[in-house]
Symmetry: C2
Subunit: 210 residues, 2 copies
DNA sequence: TGAATTGTTGCAGATGCTGCAAAAATACGC
DNA sequence: GCGTATTTTTGCAGCATCTGCAACAATTCA
């Protein structure tokens, strides 16, 4: 209900959320994590520090723009596309990157975000936690799709969920490495190339381990 | 130099460190993470709160017993054994679990630690960060061993390091799942079985992805 | 034994984060 | 429009983690 309403109240909420994300990312980029205090972020976004916590659980969450969203129909169609393109790895990588770029309005922040993640790797740890918190939702969304493949089909549901969780861990590690490489080479490549590289990394390691 | 000395000073340091770990683990287990305050832990260990930070960087680190240790010769021989037993996956899993159980004195804490990790999963995020901080050391230790296998041999050093980092991510995810299962089934199995299960999980997912 | 080194402690303070209750903004029925 | 109900914002008081600093205590070493 809430997300479909578009009264003044809802519009303002989205706007405020966006201002907070933008302020957080911008200030951390300019001043560094420790000097970009909550006070500074909130002053920049023009809200009280107390209000900040109506929007994000922590400073880190604001930097990453993380939200506890239900899997939207948009994202599901994205996932399906990734899956039919080439299978479970792409599906999972897509999932990881979509967490980093959930809102259209904030997509301009993505390059800065990746730069910051590279600078403060604990943020990706935070993101892995978020992935884990969302594991149930993710397995619910990914499970049915994955079970259509031969390799995941003959598994019972429990084993399938387990695999999804480990798959997420593997893919978020690959994402981190891909982002690192991207930052090391001057942060020039488009986001799609980074995601593509993450796919490649996963495939390489699977190949080597088999 | 420091670790090989065994004067009064060094003995006391080890003892204090141990008291802090034990107090942290015990109190978190008994009272829960949020009620096991620094003050309580330090009172139990009989040191000032200020001194606490001479031993650990954070409360979480004390709970996990994490230390920035150089890879010891002991751990290297452990690794070699794991590797010759069955390859790179065992090697990496061994690495992950050895982080959880570095000191002989604190080995009695391991079951409690695993129980707590299962209860507060953000701790494993913290551990993944630690793994990452130690990536350079770990790759330095694991790289030469891994390069002896055919699959890792033909790679240049950079690619090899990348693989190790992703491998660590994969294996720490598997470790988390294995610990979860262990806790779900009553925390009865010995630690070796948990590690073994983690190995199995990694192999399963690699098989499915290939 | 006395000086040098290292470890401990208290204190003041910054920062992140939470509960609570008052005040402001928005929505909704009439 | 108007008044009421609901939601959001805000300030404040307070707790907890963590850091720098300087004095103090313990250990080491010559």
């Amino acid at each position: 209900m809430q997300s479909s309403e578009s009264g003044l109240r809802e519009r303002k909420r989205v706007e405020t959320r966006d201002r907070l994300q933008t302020a957080a990312v911008t200030l951390v980029d300019q001043r560094g994590m420790e000097h970009a205090t909550l006070d500074a972020i909130c002053k920049e976004a023009d809200v009280s520090t107390r209000t900040f916590f109506n929007y994000f659980d922590s400073k880190e969450d604001a930097i990453l723009g993380l939200e506890d969203v239900a899997i939207t129909s948009d994202s599901v169609s994205d996932l399906l596309e990734a899956y039919v393109r080439s299978g479970p790895i792409e599906l999972t990588i897509r999932m990881v990157f979509s967490l980093l770029n959930p809102s259209v309005d904030s997509s301009a922040l993505l390059p800065l975000r990746m730069k910051i993640i590279n600078q403060y790797p604990q943020l990706l740890g935070r993101m892995a936690n978020q992935l884990q918190r969302m594991t149930q939702q993710l397995t619910a969304a990914m499970g049915p799709i994955l079970r259509e493949t031969s390799n995941f089909a003959d598994q019972d549901e429990t084993e399938s969920k387990i695999s999804v969780e480990i798959l997420l861990s593997l893919c978020s590690g690959a994402a981190r490495v891909a982002i690192k490489e991207w930052a090391a080479s001057g942060s020039k490549a488009p986001i799609e190339a980074v995601e593509q590289r993450a796919n490649e990394l996963v495939k390489n390691i699977v190949k080597r381990l088999k």
